[in-house]
Symmetry: C2
Subunit: 402 residues, 2 copies
């Protein structure tokens, strides 16, 4: 039994009535006090302080102060994380930094099935710089060896794969890569806030992530960037005034601020960052080991019930590892008709999502999902399959966005 009162934590969120929300791995729920805090930022800070808020309300510090709130959640030292831009833009900064640190090498290694937007940024960089300065190779992450990485400048991996929910061994892989002179960037989009991560102990070089999934920062909330202290002398390839040593002196010549601040570029949304800041306060005082234990308790319960169900056993295959050391905070199942089944589940009030070509994802957010959520999801899932109501015409329609 964990010392954490998860019922109390759940009560801090506004969850939709009568629904089982299992898509916090896509968009986290709204903490009640985040709404209150935003009302305050809008109606008193923006409306009343106006431009002076940059100073009197410390808006200018938000990318760093929110970074410092994220730091303990991902096992980073304060001052090594900044919250800004999108994950993709931060990845561009991290990749260019790796090519600068690892000057003699030009190869970016990533995995087959890497989150597509990560690959796009890497391929885009290769196109921009030319293949002699940057090229990419995709590898099978389960067959990773030091030999494969011996010419790589950097290895880019997702800590938890968005589709399968597989959790990768950060410590072992980082050390394997570094043993052959390859830097490592971890994409924490699907692990930050649900998994106990220790970037410093794992000697990670760079990490990127988003704040709108398990960190509950709101739809499209900003990304974050971790840079190990030893790499903070590197230039930001997207230098902007927010990363200048003396930003309000408006100097013609760029001089990078010391430390992580140089990885800032342009002005950041105060509304967006204030939402992230408020939502992160839910994590204050929580040990991430306890959060991870709760996440595993939830996915374990779901998997146990799945194993007991003959209907589910006959229609679905589990894609997420049964081995808990390799499991993120979701359970992905492969099945025929996954799309219409997802729509029938949603119509039943069980909010899950579908990923091409045949994957249903049940995401468990340890701060607000419950064992009962897992039970209701399984019951609904069995009923949808047994009744075959997913065959109804309304569940076949694919909108452009799903």
């Amino acid at each position: 039994m964990s010392a954490v009162d998860f019922d109390e934590l759940r009560s801090r969120f506004r969850l939709p009535d009568g629904k089982v929300y299992l898509d916090g791995n896509s968009l986290g729920a709204l903490p009640t006090h985040t709404a209150e805090r935003l009302y305050e930022v809008i109606s008193t800070e923006w409306a009343v302080d106006l431009v002076s808020g940059w100073n009197t309300k410390q808006w200018i510090d938000l990318p760093l102060s929110v970074g410092d709130q994220i730091a303990p959640i991902i096992g980073a030292t304060m001052g090594n994380v900044v919250c800004c831009d999108s994950l993709s833009i931060n990845l561009f900064k991290a990749l260019t930094a790796c090519l600068e640190v690892n000057k003699g090498r030009s190869l970016i290694t990533l995995e087959d099935g890497q989150f597509p937007s990560d690959s796009y940024i890497a391929d885009g960089l290769s196109q921009l710089l030319g293949s002699d300065r940057c090229r990419t190779q995709a590898i099978d992450v389960t067959a990773l060896t030091p030999g494969i990485l011996s010419e790589s400048a950097v290895l880019l991996l997702s800590h938890v794969d968005y589709k399968s929910g597989s959790l990768r061994d950060m410590h072992t892989i980082t050390s394997m890569a570094q043993s052959v002179g390859c830097l490592v960037i971890w994409d924490l989009a699907h692990s930050a806030g649900a998994i106990d991560i220790d970037l410093e102990a794992s000697h990670v070089d760079f990490a990127v992530g988003c704040t709108y999934k398990f960190l509950n920062g709101g739809p499209g909330a900003p990304g974050f960037l971790y840079v190990a202290k030893r790499h903070q002398e590197v230039q930001n390839a997207l230098p902007g005034w927010m990363g200048h040593a003396r930003l309000f002196d408006f100097e013609a010549k760029y001089e990078a601020a010391p430390g992580i601040k140089r990885f800032l570029t342009g002005t950041q949304s105060v509304l967006a960052l204030s939402a992230v800041s408020a939502s992160l306060s839910v994590f204050e005082g929580l040990a991430m080991q306890d959060v991870r234990a709760q996440s595993l308790a939830l996915t374990r319960h779901f998997i146990t019930l799945w194993k007991q169900s003959s209907v589910l056993q006959s229609h679905t295959t589990i894609v997420t590892p049964i081995d808990e050391a390799q499991r993120g905070s979701q359970v992905s199942l492969a099945l025929e008709d996954a799309f219409p089944v997802s729509q029938a589940l949603i119509a039943d009030g069980v909010i899950v999502d579908f990923r091409e070509p045949n994957i249903l994802r049940f995401g468990f957010s340890p701060l607000y999902n419950t064992l009962s959520d897992a039970e209701q999801a399984i019951a609904s899932f069995e009923s949808v399959l047994a009744s075959e109501r997913y065959r109804l015409p309304q569940f076949q329609i694919r909108s452009t966005v799903t």
Copy 2:
């Protein structure tokens, strides 16, 4: 007399009691209904719709739909503007696009005294690509000739200079540059929402801007990017899933969406974009010629009063052009002790700002500033100078942010 009821427009904003706010060129005021709209987005859309909001509430379309709201304000055709990221990131996309379009050339020309963050991005790109592929030159914009641009891939200029408030002749300069094969990027940060701009008629190639000044989108609100239809086949150097032809298919290979959409990169803040969208609705039905006329009426009145004041005449020099065709929506004055004077004015309730080394900026936002604001500012300015109360110790203290 304009047909526009500016008193009614002003009544739509929440302005701070007892203050004369002349810093809308730095951060625009809050439209009352923007606050209401944000409460709705937070408490019903995020809280209740949760992940389905991307579809049911058209969050996914916001960068394009807000772009379409900006379009008429800057004389752009719908479908040629996208609202996303920061101005700096959008400038990076525009500069790399210009180098691709103008393949034989490698020179970025910008002006001495260019808004620093614009220069940093250009210099950063030169460092990233190497000087054989990209270098920058700074020129005196008042001495611009076709000859100077004959080897330039692109000319980057601010439409209104942030410090002096000078407005540049977009049509003439664009055509001069293009006559020698040089593309043009206009930075509209200090003109969008205050000046009547016609990007299409001026045959502009690219433009960037921000939405937190005269567009009132909120502190740190997203930037925007205009790309002329003829350049929309160019690749985005920062390709991300939001710009993919079929983003929710999660394809490993990037395929750019047709049109302006390809210039999107990562996921964007729904809160930030919803604020911009709500604030832009104030512009609906307004002719920008009328907005421009009101802006000129305000700065003209301020300058007339300034000319009539012997105290101001003896202590200050006008930096902003007297010629209205060359004036943006601010009046900048140079004076000794400009910093403590700015602080004394602010203490008096006249919110202005200071820019290094000796500039006071009085920004006039045509949608909510009044002739009376100009009068109160002048009266307070005279009193601060005549009384010499700006010499008080509390007005000398420079915080890190001003």
